[in-house]
Protein backbone atom coordinates (compact mmCIF):
# COMPACT_ATOMS: atom_id res chain seq x y z
CA UNK A 1 0.00 0.00 0.00
CA UNK A 2 1.18 3.49 -0.74
CA UNK A 3 -1.06 5.53 1.49
CA UNK A 4 -0.67 3.62 4.73
CA UNK A 5 3.02 4.51 4.83
CA UNK A 6 2.20 8.19 5.29
CA UNK A 7 2.02 8.35 9.08
CA UNK A 8 5.58 7.13 9.68
CA UNK A 9 6.96 9.16 6.81
CA UNK A 10 5.34 12.22 8.34
CA UNK A 11 6.53 11.33 11.82
CA UNK A 12 10.09 11.19 10.53
CA UNK A 13 9.71 14.51 8.79
CA UNK A 14 8.23 16.22 11.80
CA UNK A 15 10.90 14.89 14.10
CA UNK A 16 13.63 15.77 11.62
CA UNK A 17 12.26 19.28 11.26
CA UNK A 18 12.48 19.78 15.02
CA UNK A 19 16.02 18.46 15.25
CA UNK A 20 17.29 20.25 12.15
CA UNK A 21 15.80 23.56 13.29
CA UNK A 22 17.44 23.21 16.69
CA UNK A 23 20.83 21.82 15.74
CA UNK A 24 21.25 22.78 12.10
CA UNK A 25 22.22 20.42 9.30
CA UNK A 26 25.83 19.96 10.43
CA UNK A 27 24.94 19.56 14.09
CA UNK A 28 22.32 16.90 13.43
CA UNK A 29 23.09 13.19 13.14
CA UNK A 30 20.83 10.69 11.48
CA UNK A 31 20.67 8.89 14.81
CA UNK A 32 19.38 12.08 16.48
CA UNK A 33 16.51 12.10 14.02
CA UNK A 34 15.77 8.41 14.38
CA UNK A 35 15.72 8.77 18.15
CA UNK A 36 13.43 11.82 18.02
CA UNK A 37 11.08 10.01 15.65
CA UNK A 38 11.20 6.81 17.68
CA UNK A 39 12.28 4.69 14.75
CA UNK A 40 15.16 2.53 13.68
CA UNK A 41 17.79 4.64 12.04
CA UNK A 42 17.69 2.59 8.84
CA UNK A 43 14.07 3.56 8.33
CA UNK A 44 15.07 7.11 7.56
CA UNK A 45 17.03 5.92 4.55
CA UNK A 46 14.10 3.73 3.53
CA UNK A 47 11.75 6.70 3.15
CA UNK A 48 14.19 9.45 2.28
CA UNK A 49 17.30 8.24 0.56
CA UNK A 50 19.80 10.26 2.56
CA UNK A 51 20.20 12.85 5.29
CA UNK A 52 20.74 15.47 2.60
CA UNK A 53 17.54 14.55 0.75
CA UNK A 54 15.50 14.55 3.96
CA UNK A 55 16.91 17.93 4.83
CA UNK A 56 16.14 19.30 1.40
CA UNK A 57 12.55 18.18 1.69
CA UNK A 58 12.16 19.87 5.06
CA UNK A 59 14.06 22.99 4.05
CA UNK A 60 11.74 23.49 1.09
CA UNK A 61 8.69 23.25 3.34
CA UNK A 62 10.13 25.64 5.90
CA UNK A 63 11.07 28.18 3.26
CA UNK A 64 7.56 27.99 1.88
CA UNK A 65 6.14 28.75 5.30
CA UNK A 66 8.65 31.55 5.65
CA UNK A 67 8.03 33.31 2.35
CA UNK A 68 4.57 32.45 1.10
CA UNK A 69 2.42 34.44 3.49
CA UNK A 70 4.66 37.46 3.22
CA UNK A 71 4.53 37.46 -0.57
CA UNK A 72 0.76 37.17 -0.61
CA UNK A 73 0.53 40.10 1.78
CA UNK A 74 2.80 42.23 -0.34
CA UNK A 75 0.72 41.60 -3.43
CA UNK A 76 -2.68 41.96 -1.82
CA UNK A 77 -4.81 44.90 -2.82
CA UNK A 78 -5.27 46.92 0.33
CA UNK A 79 -4.34 50.55 1.04
CA UNK A 80 -0.70 51.25 1.77
CA UNK A 81 -0.91 52.09 5.45
CA UNK A 82 -3.09 49.09 6.26
CA UNK A 83 -0.86 46.87 4.15
CA UNK A 84 2.25 47.84 6.06
CA UNK A 85 0.53 47.25 9.38
CA UNK A 86 -0.94 43.97 8.17
CA UNK A 87 2.47 42.87 6.91
CA UNK A 88 4.08 43.60 10.25
CA UNK A 89 1.30 41.85 12.13
CA UNK A 90 1.48 38.80 9.89
CA UNK A 91 5.25 38.58 10.02
CA UNK A 92 5.22 38.97 13.78
CA UNK A 93 2.60 36.26 14.22
CA UNK A 94 4.65 33.94 12.03
CA UNK A 95 7.78 34.58 14.07
CA UNK A 96 5.97 34.01 17.34
CA UNK A 97 4.78 30.65 16.09
CA UNK A 98 8.18 29.74 14.62
CA UNK A 99 10.76 31.68 16.63
CA UNK A 100 13.74 29.76 15.27
CA UNK A 101 12.73 29.79 11.61
CA UNK A 102 14.62 32.92 10.67
CA UNK A 103 18.03 32.08 12.14
CA UNK A 104 17.66 28.53 10.85
CA UNK A 105 17.00 29.48 7.25
CA UNK A 106 19.49 32.32 7.14
CA UNK A 107 22.27 30.28 8.68
CA UNK A 108 21.73 27.30 6.40
CA UNK A 109 21.79 29.61 3.40
CA UNK A 110 24.90 31.25 4.72
CA UNK A 111 26.59 27.89 5.10
CA UNK A 112 25.38 26.54 1.79
CA UNK A 113 24.04 29.21 -0.58
CA UNK A 114 23.32 26.65 -3.29
CA UNK A 115 20.25 25.65 -1.32
CA UNK A 116 18.75 28.85 -2.62
CA UNK A 117 18.25 27.28 -6.04
CA UNK A 118 15.37 25.31 -4.56
CA UNK A 119 13.49 28.39 -3.49
CA UNK A 120 13.98 30.56 -6.50
CA UNK A 121 10.38 29.78 -7.47
CA UNK A 122 8.53 31.09 -4.42
CA UNK A 123 10.80 34.03 -3.70
CA UNK A 124 11.36 35.38 -7.18
CA UNK A 125 7.81 36.60 -7.13
CA UNK A 126 8.72 39.16 -4.51
CA UNK A 127 10.40 41.15 -7.26
CA UNK A 128 7.48 41.44 -9.60
CA UNK A 129 5.05 42.35 -6.87
CA UNK A 130 2.61 45.18 -6.84
CA UNK A 131 4.14 46.82 -3.81
CA UNK A 132 6.62 49.04 -5.64
CA UNK A 133 3.85 50.19 -7.95
CA UNK A 134 1.66 51.02 -4.99
CA UNK A 135 4.49 53.06 -3.51
CA UNK A 136 5.24 54.81 -6.79
CA UNK A 137 1.63 55.88 -7.10
CA UNK A 138 1.60 57.29 -3.60
CA UNK A 139 4.90 59.07 -4.25
CA UNK A 140 3.52 60.55 -7.48
CA UNK A 141 0.44 61.67 -5.58
CA UNK A 142 2.71 63.34 -3.03
CA UNK A 143 1.18 61.44 -0.15
CA UNK A 144 4.39 59.69 0.97
CA UNK A 145 8.11 60.29 1.00
CA UNK A 146 10.12 59.14 -2.03
CA UNK A 147 11.50 55.77 -1.01
CA UNK A 148 12.27 52.42 -2.60
CA UNK A 149 10.16 49.40 -1.71
CA UNK A 150 13.24 47.36 -0.87
CA UNK A 151 14.04 49.63 2.05
CA UNK A 152 10.55 49.49 3.46
CA UNK A 153 10.69 45.74 3.12
CA UNK A 154 14.03 45.64 4.91
CA UNK A 155 12.88 47.89 7.73
CA UNK A 156 9.91 45.65 8.33
CA UNK A 157 11.58 42.27 8.38
CA UNK A 158 14.73 43.47 10.11
CA UNK A 159 12.84 44.98 13.03
CA UNK A 160 10.61 41.97 13.44
CA UNK A 161 13.03 39.11 12.87
CA UNK A 162 16.12 40.49 14.52
CA UNK A 163 14.73 40.50 18.07
CA UNK A 164 14.06 36.77 17.71
CA UNK A 165 17.44 36.11 16.14
CA UNK A 166 19.25 37.95 18.90
CA UNK A 167 17.03 36.72 21.72
CA UNK A 168 19.77 34.95 23.73
CA UNK A 169 21.97 38.05 23.72
CA UNK A 170 19.11 40.35 24.67
CA UNK A 171 17.94 38.18 27.51
CA UNK A 172 21.42 38.10 28.98
CA UNK A 173 22.43 41.71 28.51
CA UNK A 174 19.11 43.10 29.58
CA UNK A 175 18.24 40.45 32.20
CA UNK A 176 14.96 39.62 30.50
CA UNK A 177 12.63 36.80 31.40
CA UNK A 178 10.69 35.12 28.62
CA UNK A 179 7.60 37.19 29.32
CA UNK A 180 9.64 40.38 29.45
CA UNK A 181 11.10 39.45 26.08
CA UNK A 182 7.60 38.96 24.74
CA UNK A 183 6.41 42.36 25.86
CA UNK A 184 9.59 43.91 24.50
CA UNK A 185 8.72 42.41 21.11
CA UNK A 186 5.12 43.56 21.36
CA UNK A 187 6.32 47.05 22.10
CA UNK A 188 8.94 46.94 19.39
CA UNK A 189 6.57 46.03 16.58
CA UNK A 190 4.22 48.78 17.73
CA UNK A 191 7.14 51.20 17.59
CA UNK A 192 8.23 49.82 14.23
CA UNK A 193 4.79 50.48 12.79
CA UNK A 194 4.79 54.02 14.16
CA UNK A 195 8.32 54.68 13.02
CA UNK A 196 7.88 53.43 9.47
CA UNK A 197 4.50 55.06 9.00
CA UNK A 198 5.58 58.37 10.47
CA UNK A 199 8.66 58.33 8.26
CA UNK A 200 6.58 57.53 5.20
CA UNK A 201 3.50 59.64 5.71
CA UNK A 202 4.51 62.51 7.96
CA UNK A 203 7.02 64.50 6.01
CA UNK A 204 7.39 68.03 4.70
CA UNK A 205 6.74 67.74 0.94
CA UNK A 206 8.99 70.67 -0.02
CA UNK A 207 10.65 72.19 2.97
Amino acid sequence: MLCSSKPTEDRIKEAAKEVFMEKGFDGTTTRDIAKAAGINSALMNYYFRSKEKLFHSIFTDVCGLFFEGMIQMFNSEIPLREKIEALIDHEYAMMRENPRISIFILNELHRNPERLSGLIGPTKRIIEDSFQKQLDEAIAAGSIRNVNAHHIFMMIIANIQFPFISKPVLQLTWNMSDSEFESFCDQHIKLTKESICSYLFEFQPAC
Copy 2:
Protein backbone atom coordinates in the same frame (compact mmCIF):
# COMPACT_ATOMS: atom_id res chain seq x y z
CA MET B 1 61.28 29.55 24.59
CA LEU B 2 57.85 30.93 25.21
CA CYS B 3 57.77 33.92 22.88
CA SER B 4 59.07 32.24 19.74
CA SER B 5 56.04 29.94 19.65
CA LYS B 6 53.71 32.87 19.04
CA PRO B 7 53.75 32.96 15.23
CA THR B 8 52.46 29.42 14.72
CA GLU B 9 49.97 29.72 17.54
CA ASP B 10 48.64 32.85 15.91
CA ARG B 11 48.62 31.27 12.48
CA ILE B 12 46.48 28.46 13.82
CA LYS B 13 44.13 30.92 15.46
CA GLU B 14 43.78 33.05 12.37
CA ALA B 15 43.13 30.06 10.14
CA ALA B 16 40.70 28.58 12.66
CA LYS B 17 38.84 31.88 12.88
CA GLU B 18 38.39 31.91 9.12
CA VAL B 19 37.15 28.34 8.98
CA PHE B 20 34.91 28.59 12.06
CA MET B 21 33.33 31.81 10.79
CA GLU B 22 32.60 30.22 7.44
CA LYS B 23 31.50 26.74 8.46
CA GLY B 24 30.44 27.14 12.08
CA PHE B 25 31.60 24.97 14.96
CA ASP B 26 29.69 21.87 13.90
CA GLY B 27 30.62 22.18 10.24
CA THR B 28 34.32 22.54 10.95
CA THR B 29 36.68 19.59 11.37
CA THR B 30 40.04 19.81 13.07
CA ARG B 31 41.58 18.69 9.79
CA ASP B 32 39.96 21.65 8.01
CA ILE B 33 41.73 23.96 10.42
CA ALA B 34 45.06 22.17 10.15
CA LYS B 35 44.87 22.32 6.38
CA ALA B 36 43.96 26.01 6.38
CA ALA B 37 46.81 26.78 8.76
CA GLY B 38 49.24 24.57 6.86
CA ILE B 39 50.13 22.49 9.87
CA ASN B 40 49.98 18.95 11.06
CA SER B 41 46.63 18.29 12.66
CA ALA B 42 48.26 17.19 15.91
CA LEU B 43 49.79 20.61 16.33
CA MET B 44 46.41 22.13 17.01
CA ASN B 45 46.04 19.96 20.09
CA TYR B 46 49.56 20.87 21.13
CA TYR B 47 48.76 24.59 21.38
CA PHE B 48 45.06 24.44 22.20
CA ARG B 49 44.01 21.33 23.98
CA SER B 50 40.90 20.62 21.96
CA LYS B 51 38.70 21.87 19.17
CA GLU B 52 36.28 23.19 21.78
CA LYS B 53 39.01 25.14 23.62
CA LEU B 54 40.35 26.62 20.38
CA PHE B 55 36.85 27.64 19.44
CA HIS B 56 36.23 29.21 22.81
CA SER B 57 39.39 31.28 22.49
CA ILE B 58 38.35 32.53 19.07
CA PHE B 59 34.74 33.07 20.03
CA THR B 60 35.79 35.28 22.93
CA ASP B 61 37.95 37.41 20.65
CA VAL B 62 35.22 37.75 18.04
CA CYS B 63 32.62 38.69 20.62
CA GLY B 64 34.97 41.34 21.96
CA LEU B 65 35.32 42.81 18.50
CA PHE B 66 31.57 42.62 18.09
CA PHE B 67 30.56 44.32 21.33
CA GLU B 68 33.41 46.50 22.57
CA GLY B 69 33.28 49.35 20.08
CA MET B 70 29.52 49.53 20.28
CA ILE B 71 29.53 49.76 24.07
CA GLN B 72 32.14 52.49 24.07
CA MET B 73 30.07 54.47 21.58
CA PHE B 74 26.95 54.12 23.67
CA ASN B 75 28.73 55.42 26.74
CA SER B 76 30.63 58.23 25.06
CA GLU B 77 29.67 61.76 25.95
CA ILE B 78 28.43 63.31 22.74
CA PRO B 79 25.06 64.86 21.95
CA LEU B 80 22.21 62.47 21.25
CA ARG B 81 21.76 63.05 17.54
CA GLU B 82 25.46 62.80 16.79
CA LYS B 83 25.74 59.75 19.01
CA ILE B 84 23.04 57.90 17.11
CA GLU B 85 24.64 58.75 13.79
CA ALA B 86 28.11 57.83 15.06
CA LEU B 87 26.77 54.55 16.41
CA ILE B 88 25.23 53.67 13.09
CA ASP B 89 28.38 54.65 11.21
CA HIS B 90 30.58 52.65 13.54
CA GLU B 91 28.36 49.59 13.48
CA TYR B 92 28.14 49.74 9.72
CA ALA B 93 31.91 50.04 9.31
CA MET B 94 32.37 47.05 11.60
CA MET B 95 29.91 44.97 9.59
CA ARG B 96 31.54 45.90 6.31
CA GLU B 97 34.88 44.73 7.62
CA ASN B 98 33.41 41.57 9.17
CA PRO B 99 30.31 40.75 7.16
CA ARG B 100 29.87 37.26 8.63
CA ILE B 101 30.44 38.17 12.26
CA SER B 102 26.81 38.71 13.13
CA ILE B 103 25.31 35.52 11.74
CA PHE B 104 28.27 33.59 13.12
CA ILE B 105 27.91 34.81 16.69
CA LEU B 106 24.14 34.69 16.74
CA ASN B 107 23.97 31.21 15.29
CA GLU B 108 26.58 29.80 17.66
CA LEU B 109 24.71 31.32 20.60
CA HIS B 110 21.49 29.91 19.26
CA ARG B 111 23.02 26.45 19.01
CA ASN B 112 24.79 26.63 22.35
CA PRO B 113 23.53 29.43 24.62
CA GLU B 114 25.96 28.44 27.39
CA ARG B 115 28.69 30.12 25.40
CA LEU B 116 27.15 33.36 26.60
CA SER B 117 28.63 32.85 30.04
CA GLY B 118 32.00 33.81 28.64
CA LEU B 119 30.83 37.17 27.41
CA ILE B 120 28.80 38.29 30.36
CA GLY B 121 31.66 40.63 31.27
CA PRO B 122 31.84 42.77 28.16
CA THR B 123 28.14 42.84 27.39
CA LYS B 124 26.72 43.39 30.84
CA ARG B 125 28.01 46.89 30.68
CA ILE B 126 25.48 47.71 28.03
CA ILE B 127 22.87 47.76 30.75
CA GLU B 128 24.47 50.28 33.04
CA ASP B 129 25.32 52.65 30.23
CA SER B 130 24.68 56.31 30.08
CA PHE B 131 22.49 56.10 27.03
CA GLN B 132 19.19 55.64 28.81
CA LYS B 133 20.01 58.61 31.07
CA GLN B 134 20.81 60.69 28.04
CA LEU B 135 17.47 59.76 26.54
CA ASP B 136 15.59 60.41 29.77
CA GLU B 137 17.04 63.88 30.02
CA ALA B 138 16.03 64.67 26.45
CA ILE B 139 12.55 63.28 27.10
CA ALA B 140 12.23 65.39 30.26
CA ALA B 141 13.35 68.43 28.28
CA GLY B 142 10.66 67.63 25.73
CA SER B 143 13.13 67.51 22.87
CA ILE B 144 12.46 63.90 21.87
CA ARG B 145 9.65 61.40 21.88
CA ASN B 146 9.20 59.22 24.97
CA VAL B 147 10.95 55.98 24.06
CA ASN B 148 13.01 53.31 25.78
CA ALA B 149 16.73 53.00 24.95
CA HIS B 150 16.33 49.30 24.21
CA HIS B 151 14.13 50.04 21.24
CA ILE B 152 16.47 52.61 19.77
CA PHE B 153 19.28 50.12 20.23
CA MET B 154 17.25 47.41 18.50
CA MET B 155 16.27 49.66 15.61
CA ILE B 156 19.91 50.51 15.01
CA ILE B 157 21.47 47.07 15.09
CA ALA B 158 18.56 45.34 13.38
CA ASN B 159 18.64 47.68 10.39
CA ILE B 160 22.39 47.47 10.03
CA GLN B 161 23.05 43.82 10.73
CA PHE B 162 20.05 42.25 9.08
CA PRO B 163 20.98 43.21 5.51
CA PHE B 164 24.29 41.38 5.98
CA ILE B 165 22.63 38.41 7.61
CA SER B 166 20.10 38.09 4.82
CA LYS B 167 22.50 38.96 2.00
CA PRO B 168 22.17 35.66 0.08
CA VAL B 169 18.38 35.91 0.04
CA LEU B 170 18.42 39.56 -1.01
CA GLN B 171 20.88 38.99 -3.81
CA LEU B 172 18.75 36.22 -5.22
CA THR B 173 15.31 37.73 -4.86
CA TRP B 174 16.35 41.16 -6.02
CA ASN B 175 19.00 40.08 -8.55
CA MET B 176 21.69 42.13 -6.88
CA SER B 177 25.37 42.11 -7.72
CA ASP B 178 27.87 42.63 -4.92
CA SER B 179 28.21 46.31 -5.73
CA GLU B 180 24.46 46.75 -5.91
CA PHE B 181 24.20 45.13 -2.51
CA GLU B 182 26.80 47.57 -1.21
CA SER B 183 24.93 50.60 -2.46
CA PHE B 184 21.72 49.17 -1.08
CA CYS B 185 23.37 48.99 2.34
CA ASP B 186 24.76 52.50 1.99
CA GLN B 187 21.31 53.75 1.16
CA HIS B 188 19.69 51.74 3.93
CA ILE B 189 21.85 53.07 6.73
CA LYS B 190 21.25 56.60 5.45
CA LEU B 191 17.54 55.87 5.56
CA THR B 192 17.85 54.26 8.97
CA LYS B 193 19.48 57.39 10.36
CA GLU B 194 16.77 59.58 8.88
CA SER B 195 14.01 57.32 10.03
CA ILE B 196 15.21 56.98 13.62
CA CYS B 197 16.07 60.64 13.98
CA SER B 198 12.86 61.86 12.44
CA TYR B 199 10.91 59.51 14.68
CA LEU B 200 12.80 60.71 17.75
CA PHE B 201 13.13 64.41 17.12
CA GLU B 202 10.29 65.38 14.79
CA PHE B 203 7.13 64.77 16.73
CA GLN B 204 4.15 66.70 17.95
CA PRO B 205 4.75 67.16 21.71
CA ALA B 206 1.06 67.28 22.61
CA CYS B 207 -1.17 66.83 19.61
